[in-house]
Amino acid sequence: MPIEELSEDLTKVPTAHPAVRFDRVTKRFGDHTVLDGLDLEVARGERVTLIGPSGSGKTTILRLLMTLERVTDGVIHVDGQPFSHMPGRTAGKLVPASERHLAARRRRIGMVFQQFNLFPHMSVLENVVEAPVHVLGEGREEAGLRARELLDLVGLSDKVDARPTRLSGGQQQRVAIARALAMRPEILLLDEVTSALDPELVAEVLDVLREVARRTDITLLCVTHEMGFARDVSDRILMFDGGRIVESGPADALLDAPGEERTRAFLSSVR
């Protein structure tokens, strides 16, 4: 069977599987262990927020899912299929995924970065249209129309032709959100998306994300220090420290009545 058909098959999976499953995932950078045998499941459509002190491994989880980093040990599954790994030559054995395997699967995942990472030499519209045209194979006109809709959703329909460098940080981040959504991801990763913003620009970005959460059934994984936002959008909050989950629970419960001393200390430090 040609590779293309095979990958087509793998995308049609039953919905019973969790959207994301980390199976004893370890990530080391040199001698430094960032994640230590992490088990984690995120259901389809679930909104999960990762909180915890910096260096606790939250961002690494997102970067592993976006394939910006490779796991040291353990396997990541997406939609019940091996994601970080693929079947090897011997039956039942998994080997680290090839670039081709990853390329076929990472499309369903989108990411918004702390530093926006817009393409500075392209207009706002070109930024949003780029991937739908060159990855999904949409026509320019079709992609352009949808890009305008998305830019309207993030409140930037008047900035379509502007260069990203002419925009405020909050506006740039809203373009980045539209750009990620243009790929119609099933899973959206938000990596400290307001951390690089001036305080008065944080609200406009979070409002847009609340709207996205309300209007779509996208699976959300976010790392943030904005506890109000975490409370509004999350079904579940995970408290991280030292590469392990210290505590997890429904947003209100965990934020209002944390069970662990470590969580209490962290929450009082960010409030």
């Binding site: 976006m66 995942i109 970065f113 780029e130 060159h134 990855v135 790929m183």
Partner: protein, 211 residues
């Protein structure tokens, strides 16, 4: 000492040579830009088995004199006329420098740009063509311009393989009319008039890109 009559007589010959110099510079620089990019991509984006020999060959060309390369090519590559050969040798020589310039420009593209491309699943070819190279080339426009000027000033070397560029013409005029002072002074003046404004333009460009 200075013979105004002779200078006036030398001017058309020198200017004719300048035409050759200019065409040689433009063509050789075009060769250098394209080939330099290919060399840079082979070293930065290509597989390891390709990168190493390419780096070695480029290093070899860069560390031997252009004059020697011209003579060597003149002797070893038959069947090409002098101007074509000169343009190719000059172009290849400078390509090895420009590949380093491109590499600097590529390395200066922030890591976040690559990560955004991964997050958008852009195919590798598209990443280079639409995202990395446009920014890399923008980063290095000023050094590219400086290399163009310095290549322009090295074209007199082509006279050793009988290309009739400006200095060659000035020399011929000088020997036939015994007016070396006038013909070479004119050639020098034309070089100055062409390079200086170009350098100023490049510096302006540099200042504008810095913002």
């Amino acid at each position: 000492m200075w013979d105004g009559e002779a200078a006036r007589a030398a001017l058309p010959t020198v200017l004719e040579g300048f035409g050759v110099t200019l065409v040689a510079t433009v063509l050789a620089f075009a060769v250098a830009m394209v080939m330099g990019l290919v060399l840079a991509l082979a070293q930065r984006g290509g597989p390891a088995w390709l990168a190493l020999p390419v780096r070695g060959a480029a290093g070899f060309v860069r560390s031997t004199p252009l004059l020697v390369q011209l003579f060597a090519a003149w002797v070893l590559i038959p069947g090409l006329d002098a101007p074509t050969l000169g343009v190719l040798v000059l172009g290849v020589h400078y390509a090895t420098y420009l590949s380093e310039v491109y590499r600097t420009g590529i390395d200066a593209v922030p890591k976040g740009q690559w990560e955004a491309c991964t997050a958008l699943s852009l195919p590798r070819r598209r990443v280079w063509r639409a995202v990395v190279l446009p920014q890399a080339v923008r980063n290095v426009l000023p050094p590219l311009g400086n290399y163009a000027v310095s290549m322009f000033k090295e074209t007199p070397l082509l006279s050793v393989i009988t290309v009739h560029e400006m200095v060659h013409e000035a020399n011929t005029f000088g020997s036939t009319h015994f007016a070396y002072l006038e013909s070479f002074t004119l050639a020098a003046a034309v070089f100055l008039l062409a390079s200086w404004p170009t350098s100023v333009l490049i510096r302006r460009l540099e200042a504008r890109l810095a913002h």
